[in-house]
């Protein structure tokens, strides 16, 4: 695994500052580790020699100061790491959101957007572990052993040699065993998460299980399944934990080897007591940073995985075109789909398959057909939210992909199948169609779709706060608010995606009437699931299996 995704480093001045801080603190921490060992050995050796407490106050005081320094360095790592994590994630999430809006506004569904938001907000926690713990540990794992070996070598070359004997075992064994087990351990944990999914599946299906009298049988099954996984998992862990054990064996064996050789040479008088003690106190420090690094490995992998996911999302290729030409006005220019095909990258099969269709200025076209026939996708292409995989959409002969999308969108009023109600007042939500519209026009638009009465009945009327956390609206109410929005927009091209799907007969008629009363120079593309709406259209086009069927066949479909 790479220590850090280079894309992450590219993006973060915070990350580069963190690298610098970590490197400086790492050198300081290594120096303090050495000083602590030297001081402990000095005090103990003086005591061994019969010194009184007063004789060792200076080294003891220094020891406390060094310890305080180590604590401060640890705090510094944490502060720098967390601040960098907060900065990097903040920057990533804003970039992600901006790019999503600009490049692929229509490519996210509800579940995915929730996942992105959760990762973008909660991702700090995961990255904090990486930045505040793993990175400093990685620095220490490099700096401290070198410093320790250098000091030991300056005291006693033989002991340094003994340490060097065991040190290379560590990475070699880690690599050998880690490489083999890492993958299998990961597979096991994935299996375990599958097990969790199984549990969720069973709990979700509880009503069904109970209806078929199969509820109680599942309790035993859950325990059995859990137990099977436990046994299989433990089989893997037995091997996986070996790498940790070997690493630790190298560490403890190293301490034992150093202690015994140093002890024997002390007896023979080849080494002084204080020197020997310094070496012994330093011996565990040689391996400690490495072992800590191994322990942090998994937690930090989570953080990097989150960051990588965010980076992948931010770097996803643009779906919407970004041209510069001024698009013609649909009041004068016909909109043509010329051999348009579309396939979702993640899904098999084509949604649209060589569609030819013309919307003449002022024409009202109803698009009908079974669900999954590609109606909403066709609308997305006309809206410029996505580009066809083959063929092209033209306006008055100009390729839509080469047009300025912002200018093109100004020509359109759109009601999607499931409109979004944003947090804010009802009036604000309707005003989305025209921010400068005065109250009377907002009300007039609501009235035309039969919303005025229900809004007036609310205690706060048009100032009622709706959206997440506000007053809940029924599907039909949402739809009518979105329709009012579109009417207020007063745009030459009106695209309505199943505008009456959630309305009862009376309100559906009212909405149909409002559509019928649109000025005659408006081009209307009306997507309808059911045939009732089709009668207000000049022409009915059916979309079946991604292909266009017109005329009598369309009426039948």
């Amino acid at each position: 695994m790479r220590l850090l995704d280079p894309r992450l480093v590219d993006r973060g001045r915070a990350v580069r500052a963190l690298f610098a801080a970590d490197a400086a603190l790492g050198v300081l921490a290594a120096f303090l580790v050495l000083a602590q060992a030297v001081l402990i050995a000095r005090v103990a050796a003086r005591g061994f020699g019969g010194a009184s407490l007063a004789d060792v106050t200076v080294p003891l005081g220094l020891l406390v100061a060094v310890v305080a320094g180590r604590a401060a360095a640890a705090w510094g790592f944490e502060v720098a790491g967390r601040r960098a994590a907060a900065r990097v994630v903040s920057r990533l999430r804003i970039e992600l959101v901006e790019r999503r809006l600009r490049d692929r506004p229509a490519a996210l569904d509800g579940a995915e957007s929730a996942e992105v938001a959760t990762a973008a907000v909660g991702g700090v926690d995961a990255l904090e572990t990486t930045f505040a713990r793993y990175l400093p540990q990685a620095v220490l794992a490099v700096v401290v052993p070198v410093a320790v070996l250098a000091l030991v070598a300056s005291i006693d070359l033989v002991s340094a040699g003994v340490m060097l004997l065991t040190l290379p075992l560590v990475p070699v064994f880690m690599w050998l065993i880690g490489r083999y087990t890492e993958r299998r351990a990961r597979e096991r944990w994935r299996a375990l998460s599958l097990l969790a999914t199984h549990f969720l599946d069973v709990v979700r299906g509880l009503p069904t299980l109970r209806a078929f009298n199969r509820g109680t049988a599942q309790a035993r099954r859950i325990e059995e399944v859990s137990d099977e996984y436990r046994r299989a998992t433990m089989g893997t862990l037995r091997v996986a934990f070996l790498s940790g054990a070997v690493l630790e064996l190298a560490a403890t064996l190293g301490i034992a080897l150093v202690a015994v050789t140093v002890g024997v040479r002390l007896v023979e008088g080849g080494l002084g007591f204080e020197a020997a003690l310094t070496i012994l106190v330093l011996a565990p420090e040689l391996y400690l940073p490495l072992r800590n690094l191994a322990a942090q490995f998994h937690a930090s992998a989570d953080g990097l995985a989150v960051a990588e996911r965010l980076l992948d999302l931010a770097d996803a290729p643009a779906a919407a075109a970004r041209g510069t030409a001024a698009p013609p006005d649909p009041r004068e220019a016909p909109i043509r789909l010329e051999g348009v095909s579309f396939a979702y990258p993640a899904r098999e099969g084509v949604v649209l398959d060589g569609v030819d269709l013309e919307l003449a200025p002022g024409e009202r076209v109803a698009l009908v057909g079974p669900s999954g026939g590609g109606k909403s996708t066709l609308a997305s292409l006309v809206l410029g939210l996505a580009e066809p995989t083959a063929g092209r959409v033209t306006v008055g002969g100009a390729d839509l992909a080469r047009c300025d999308q912002v200018a093109w969108r100004k020509h359109i009023a759109w009601v999607p199948q499931r409109p979004t109600i944003f947090r804010g007042t009802l009036a604000d939500n309707i005003r989305l169609g025209d921010p400068s519209a005065p109250d009377e026009r907002v009300r007039a638009a609501a009235e035309r779709v039969g919303s005025d009465a229900f809004v007036q009945a609310l205690p706060d009327g048009y100032e009622t706060v709706v959206g997440d956390g506000g007053r809940a609206l029924s599907a039909g109410e949402r739809q009518r608010i979105a329709l009012a929005r579109a009417l207020l927009r007063d745009a030459p091209l009106v695209i309505l995606d199943e505008p009456t799907a959630n309305l009862d007969g009376e309100n559906a008629d009212l909405v149909a009437e409002a559509i019928e009363q649109l000025p005659h120079d408006r081009t209307v593309l009306l997507i309808a699931h059911r045939p009732e709406l089709a009668r207000i259209a000049d022409r009915v086009v059916a979309l079946v299996g991604g292909r266009v069927v017109e005329g009598a066949a369309a009426e039948a479909a």
């Binding site: 907060a86 900065r87 809006l101 109970r210 862990l237 020997a276 969108r409």
Partner: protein, 554 residues
């Protein structure tokens, strides 16, 4: 918190003997590590007195022994503790399931929404940290810490007092501080986080409309502001986040210095052999391994206990529906089923969902139940299957109160194709067999033919072994509904309850499906609950329900 912990331990039913084995191994691993450094310190101190090398043999053997055995003990400890964690997770899942099974679905109403259910299951899974984080580390620290203090006390009581104070500070005060700091910064950031999450979700979900109306900048500004606020809080909280870990280092170092000072002055006064000065200093220095995992554990424990509390809250609910002490034998089929003056509601309070409803399903009759959403149609299903008991009136099966039968016998009367029928993430075969576990492939093929899925299943490369995906994601809406119907038919129950069988289907598909179902139902009693017109013309009677009342019985 301690009470919740104790209840959770009981709930997880971790076997005592295994728990102590694991804690014992954990403490032994720490002690062996301390012993290695202590023995090594003693070896060097003793060697400095230049004794004959033979006098050091025992110590050398001890150093080698601890050096070799410590990793082995640690390895065993990790295996045993992880085994225990997985075991307790399995048990918690099974016991939690057994507790909520009788509650579903009527008493889990609020939990039926996907995210709550996911969280509930997530809470159960979070309990796998209960042992590894909540129980084992403090016990290991207590045992190993006591051993270290005891060993020091045997040599120099004054040093033991210092060490005990240091271990207590490092093992109780520092973890408590770590947990408190994490909690308060979590609380401070929580509001900013949920605000930002909500803003981003809304912005991403509404992105097409925002860009179309050219209003993305307004919303983006809100996201930027929320992000700045969270960033500000996070940067401020970063200053305190590392305090606990820094204190842990400080406490260990100062304690070592204190023990060293006590040892030096004790030797000065002749109370301590000079060989032991460095020895107990090294013992003190290494004994902090015992408390090292505690701050991190304390930080996580808060979340685990919060999860546990939610789990217990659900598990403590007592089922509203239970079997009678002396049940009637199963009703003879086909029975007449009726609702007689039934009033019903969910929970202890609130408005009734149904008020004084009468409805009779005579054998072989086909009854349509219509009405707007929220009129209480699905409650009728819940009452029939005894997921819910009426507040007043009764559900009668073959003339007797449904409460006098065993729940299992009641449910055997009905084949349910519910609105929210679940397809399990398994094969077509397993999903169908739920209704009849001993059904042969021939019978499955037969029932699939009846709902016109026979050809489709036969055309699949894996046939009946085809996986349907999570919540049936791999099959189309129409196929899904047909599978649900096939399952209801396969149950062989005399009364077929169809709750919105054509929801989410286009009219042509819906109409074809109703034709097939009614043909397949043969002479069974049918209750068709719907808000759509398809199939109603083929019902013997249509009952309209509105606002919990029968308004029209045609």
């Amino acid at each position: 918190m301690t009470r919740t912990l104790r209840r959770l331990v009981a709930f997880a039913a971790v076997p005592r003997s295994r728990l102590w084995l694991s804690v014992g191994l954990g403490a032994l691993a720490v002690c062996f590590g301390v012993a290695l450094m202590t023995a090594a310190g003693y070896l060097i101190s003793r060697a400095a007195e230049h004794p004959p090398i033979l006098a050091l043999t025992t110590t050398i053997v001890a150093v080698r022994f601890f050096g070799l055995s410590r990793p082995i003990v640690r390895y065993l400890d990790r295996l045993v503790s992880h085994d225990l964690a997985l075991r307790s997770l399995g048990r918690v899942r099974a016991r939690f399931y057994a507790r909520i099974e009788p509650l579903a679905p009527a008493q889990l109403e609020g939990y039926r929404r996907g995210d709550l259910l996911t969280r509930m299951v997530g809470d159960v899974d979070a309990l796998q940290g209960l042992y590894l984080r909540g129980i084992s580390p403090p016990l290991v620290a207590l045992l190993a810490g006591a051993a270290c203090v005891g060993a020091t006390a045997a040599v120099l009581p004054a040093a033991a007092v210092i060490l005990a104070a240091g271990l207590l500070a490092g093992g109780v005060a520092v973890p408590a501080l770590a947990a408190a700091l994490a909690r308060s910064s979590g609380r401070r950031q929580a509001a900013a986080r949920s605000e930002l999450t909500a803003d981003i979700v809304e912005l991403l979900r509404g992105a097409p409309e925002l860009v179309l109306f050219g209003r993305e900048e307004d919303r983006l500004a809100a996201v930027r502001a929320a992000d700045r606020e969270l960033d500000r809080l996070a940067r401020r909280d970063a200053l305190v986040a590392g305090v606990a870990d820094a204190l842990a280092i400080l406490v260990a170092g100062v304690t070592t210095a204190g023990v060293l000072a006590a040892a030096v002055s004790a030797h000065d006064t002749g109370a301590l052999d000079r060989v032991l000065v460095a020895t107990i200093a090294l013992l003190a220095l290494s004994s902090f391994e015992a408390v090292a995992p505690l701050p991190a554990a304390a930080r996580e424990l808060g979340g685990i206990v919060a999860s546990g509390r939610r789990v217990l809250e659900l598990a403590d609910r007592s089922p509203a529906v239970s079997d009678p002490v002396d049940p009637l034998p199963a009703p003879r089929v086909p029975p007449t089923v009726s609702l007689e003056g039934v009033t019903a509601r969910y929970g202890q309070e609130g408005e009734p969902v149904l008020a004084d409803v009468d409805l009779t399903l005579a054998p072989g009759r086909r009854i349509g139940l219509v009405g707007p959403s929220g009129a209480g149609k699905t409650t009728v299903t819940n009452l029939l299957l005894r997921f819910l008991d009426p507040l007043e009136g009764r559900v009668a099966i073959a003339g007797r109160d449904a409460r006098d039968y065993r729940q299992e016998d009641v449910r055997r009367v009905f084949g349910l194709a519910g609105q929210d029928a679940h397809l399990f993430d398994s094969t077509i075969r397993e999903n169908l067999r739920l209704a009849r576990p001993d059904a042969t492939d021939r019978e499955l093929g037969d029932v699939l033919d009846r709902v016109r899925l026979g050809e489709w299943v036969a055309s699949l490369p894996d046939g009946l072994d085809t996986l349907v995906g999570e919540e049936g994601a791999e099959v189309s809406g129409g196929q899904r509904q047909r599978l649900v119907l096939a399952r209801a038919l396969l149950a062989g129950a005399p009364v077929l309850v169809l709750d919105e069988p054509t929801a989410h289907l286009d009219p042509a598909t819906a109409s074809a499906l109703m034709d097939d179902v009614l043909a397949a139902a043969e002479d069974r009693t049918v209750l068709l609950i719907t808000h759509r017109p398809e199939g109603l013309d083929r019902m013997d009677d249509v009952v309209t329900l509105e606002g919990g009342l029968v308004v029209e019985a045609a």
